[in-house]
């Protein structure tokens, strides 16, 4: 191997899933002993690429070269044998097994006939944690550990392999500053030993601190590779997003000042929200901002009857109403799309058509029997309008990308013709292109006379989308910002959300 031969190389890697092309002609190379960052928006294809390298997925086409030789990685076991180790973004620990068993899963030290050498495993695990400078009882079950501890076990598991390539997919997400420092020390010592580290992270500061080179992926295509020292943060963001931030959000609405659709007075649901009063104008987006736990989504949950309402009055189109269940809320013209799309939104094994019509199925009943023709017509029209990308309405929804799943959920909502439309984290885990379309759908809904209450943890999104912003703090309203005269700054919103002072770190931990 000459000095110029990369340790690992991707050539023209493509990967398609039903209805989505996740990666297109990806070329990338990794040198021995470098820390190489891969950055990109959610859904850009970073994790897919790493799953190909670790044998979880097979590429649709393209080649992988390792030490100059072409290799086929048929399964995770082969990747391990090759010397590729990975810290997965989602946890890869078995909850019912203890720390030791998890770290050495499938690589258990044995004495004879495959009998486990428990004492050696325990000793090695303890050494591993000592070298990481953390203290974890190695005999505990994973289910008893905190998220931070689980992540540390995850890291220890990856380190327990003598790897040539170590992939870290968002390793820092659950870690505090203290553990992050330790992680960086570990990375530096790995690098000194000649291990290639592939580092995936959203936190650009981390990349500038620890990485040598950076590759940007956008919509499944490599758009840029360079030495980190030649890059700046702004440049990196521009390469990742590929468009100006102002082009992302549609123009704000022109709701009448006194045209109130909904008047909420003294809404209380102990212990989460207390005495919340606000109005919702016809045709506006009301954004709810605040720290996690400030009671933003609790307002919505109380409004639509998911949480008990202890006190307060909801006046809708001039008359008081009660929503005691979601069914009643939909009946009254409310609709709610929760943030956890996978578990609370989609019905994974059902088709796109069934997922679209399930909330409005009543309208397609003839003598109690579903009229498939009219169901198909409505589902088809609505999804066409929202430009859901799919090969067929019969496709299972779980095969769609996050953005397209969200469009199906929006189609489901729109078919109930909601007047008050509540949505939490509308674009979580969705790529930039689809984000833009979803913003447009929300704005179009408002322009047709409905009103939207939106919760988002991404401040730019709240500021970009909302006509007015209601800021929550510890379960009460801290203030309402009207954006008709001009958009607020992140600082204005934050200072309301945290009181008189705030730090950038508080924003990021949100």
């Amino acid at each position: 191997m000459t000095a110029t031969t990369p340790l690992l190389e991707f050539r023209k890697i493509c990967k398609s899933f039903p209805g989505v092309k996740a990666l297109t002609d990806v070329d990338m190379s990794f040198r021995k002993g470098e820390v190489h960052a891969i950055v990109g928006e959610n859904g850009a294809g970073k994790s897919t690429l790493m799953k190909i390298l670790s044998g979880v997925y097979q590429p649709t086409s393209g080649e992988v070269y390792f030490n100059g030789e072409q290799v086929t990685i048929r399964n995770p076991h082969e990747a391990q044998l090759m010397g590729v180790s990975i810290i997965f973004q989602e946890f890869s620990l078995i909850r019912h097994l203890d720390v030791v068993s998890n770290i050495f899963l499938n690589r258990e030290p044995t004495t004879f006939l495959g009998l486990k050498d428990r004492s050696t495993a325990v000793r090695k695990a303890k050494e591993l944690f000592r070298s990481m400078d953390v203290d974890i009882d190695v005999n505990r079950n994973i289910s008893e550990l905190s998220i931070v501890e689980q992540q540390l076990v995850e890291i220890a598991k990856a380190l327990s392999v003598t790897a040539q390539v170590l992939i870290m997919d968002e390793p820092s997400a659950p870690l505090t500053d203290k553990e992050l420092k330790k992680l960086f020390e570990i990375i530096r010592s790995l690098k000194a030993k000649g291990v290639t580290v592939i580092y995936i992270s959203h936190m650009l500061e981390e990349i500038f601190e620890i990485c040598d080179r950076v590759t940007v992926i956008k919509d499944g295509v490599v758009t840029h590779t360079d030495e980190v020292k030649n890059m700046t943060k702004d440049l990196l963001v521009k390469k990742m997003v590929g468009r100006d931030i102002d082009d992302i959000y549609p123009p704000l609405g022109t709701a009448g000042k006194d045209d109130n659709l909904l008047e909420v007075t003294g809404l209380t649901s102990t212990p989460r929200i207390n005495n919340v009063t606000f109005t919702l104008r016809r045709g506006e987006v009301l954004g709810l901002a605040g720290m996690v736990g400030a009671g933003r989504s609790e307002i919505i949950k109380t409004l639509i009857g998911l949480n008990p309402k202890d006190n307060g009055c909801i006046i809708f189109e001039g008359s008081p109403i009660e929503n005691r269940s979601i069914a009643q809320a939909i009946e009254n013209g409310f609709y709610y799309i929760p943030s956890d799309r996978k578990n609370e939104g989609i019905i994974a094994d059902m088709t796109i058509m069934e997922n679209t019509t399930i909330a409005s199925l009543k309208e397609h009943l003839q003598h109690g029997i579903i009229n498939r023709k009219s169901e198909r017509l409505f589902a088809g029209n609505e999804n066409k309008k929202l430009r859901t990308k799919t090969s067929s309405l019969e496709e299972q929804i779980k095969n769609l990308s996050g953005g397209n799943q969200q469009k199906v959920l929006l189609a489901r909502a729109l078919l109930t013709r909601p007047k008050v439309f509540c949505i939490v984290e509308p674009t979580r885990g969705i790529d930039v292109g689809a984000k833009h379309e979803i913003y447009k759908i929300i704005r179009d809904l408002c322009n047709s006379g409905s009103s939207v209450i939106m919760v988002s943890s991404e401040l730019p999104e709240v500021i970009g989308m909302s006509d007015r912003i209601l800021v929550m703090k510890q379960g009460t309203v801290a203030g309402i910002i009207d954006q008709s005269a001009g958009r607020a700054t992140e600082e204005e919103v934050l200072s309301l959300a945290v009181g008189h002072e705030y730090s950038l770190h508080a924003k990021e931990s949100n």
Binding site: S54, V56, N75, P76, H77, A79, Q80, F88, F91, S92, L93, I94, R95, H96, L97, S101, L105, N106, R107, E108, T110, L113, G114, L115, K116, R118, R130, D133, V134, D135, I136, D137, N139, R140, E144, S146, E149
Partner: protein, 323 residues
């Protein structure tokens, strides 16, 4: 470099008593007390031998098989029919081939058990039929096969083969040693062998087990083969004890083994539970039915009560899991 103590070590708590693996022994003790109080015949040597040796060994061994399958994330509905078939086969061999070596019969039974396990593995792992359906099909297949061969029980198993259930070594019944040996080997496999760790991993989350490099399907196949051979060991004991075999020898074992496993804290969703707990479950079931017999309660009512116990056990543990 100093080691920071961020995370407190595990402490003992009262909650541990209500953990499935321990709770079963709590119930066991309670049941024994009830038995002692309600019937003077319970604590007689004859009855105790009946309960702990004769009644429970067969069911215990089959339960070990069931537990392995459940931990791997599947379920086996064919164990009852398999026991019936294998005992019938043993009796049939002795009837049709007088003078056959008992060890040869045992070897044939074990081979047949492995074959049944292999069939279940083929259906669920290779053809990917859900295990409930696949093993239900096996059950029907086996039961049909038995009736094709005989409609009535076959007796007349010779003394040499019956030594297993009758003989005592230095005052200890051989069948008890037989059970301990089997239990010891299976426990060694599950607790101390890497196979056991992989079994729990696969049952707990087969996707994660897969990305950790475990050959998921191979582990499931081994579990079925192991279960198949365990069922044959149970059949050998039962044929020896009853001096024969028939179409209904093992009927009800599928439900009894699952009930025992659940009472013993084995999670039906896989990856959780211990062998010892399940044996505790078997003992609770046998003592319970012994108590019912001593109190002259009809077998129909017993069946009804068994159903109730299953409901209570399952809802108790699923409630605990939700907490």
């Amino acid at each position: 470099m100093s080691t920071t103590t961020l995370y407190p070590a595990r402490k003992f708590s009262l909650q541990k008593l209500t953990r499935p693996g321990n709770f079963v022994w709590f119930i066991f003790t309670l049941l024994i007390i009830v038995c002692l109080l309600s019937s003077p015949f319970f604590f007689t040597a004859r009855n105790l031998k009946n309960v702990f040796l004769i009644q429970s060994i067969g069911l215990s061994i089959v339960t070990l098989a069931q537990v392995l399958i459940i931990i791997s994330g599947n379920i086996d509905m064919s164990v009852g029919a398999a026991v019936s078939l294998l005992t019938t086969l043993a009796a049939g061999l002795f009837r049709d081939l007088p003078g056959i070596d008992p060890f040869l019969v045992a070897a044939i039974i074990i081979a047949a058990g492995l074959l049944i396990g292999g069939l279940n593995a083929f259906l669920t792992v290779i053809l990917r039929i859900p295990s409930f359906m696949g093993t239900l099909a096996t059950m029907s297949l086996l039961q049909g096969l038995i009736f094709f061969y005989t409609k009535t029980p076959i007796g007349g198993i010779p003394k040499s083969f019956r030594l297993l259930a009758k003989y005592k070594l230095a005052g200890i019944p051989v069948c008890f040693i037989y059970f301990l040996l089997i239990f010891g080997i299976v426990a060694l496999l599950v607790r101390r062998h890497r196979f056991g760790t992989h079994l729990y991993a696969v049952g707990s989350d087969s996707y994660i087990a897969g990305i950790s490099g475990i050959a998921v399907r191979r582990v499931k196949i081994y579990a079925f083969l192991l279960a198949g051979s365990l069922v044959s060991f149970a059949a050998i004991f039962l044929a020896s004890r009853m001096a024969g075999g028939g179409p209904t020898t093992g009927s009800g074992y599928e439900l009894d083994t699952i009930t025992a496993a659940v009472i013993g804290g084995v999670s039906l969703s896989g990856g959780e539970g211990t062998l010892l707990g399940a044996i505790g479950g078997v003992l609770i079931l046998t003592i319970f039915s012994n108590l019912m017999n001593l109190l002259n309660i009809s077998s129909y009512i017993q069946m009804l009560l068994k159903g109730l116990i299953l409901i209570i056990a399952v809802s108790f543990y699923s409630k605990k899991n939700n907490e």
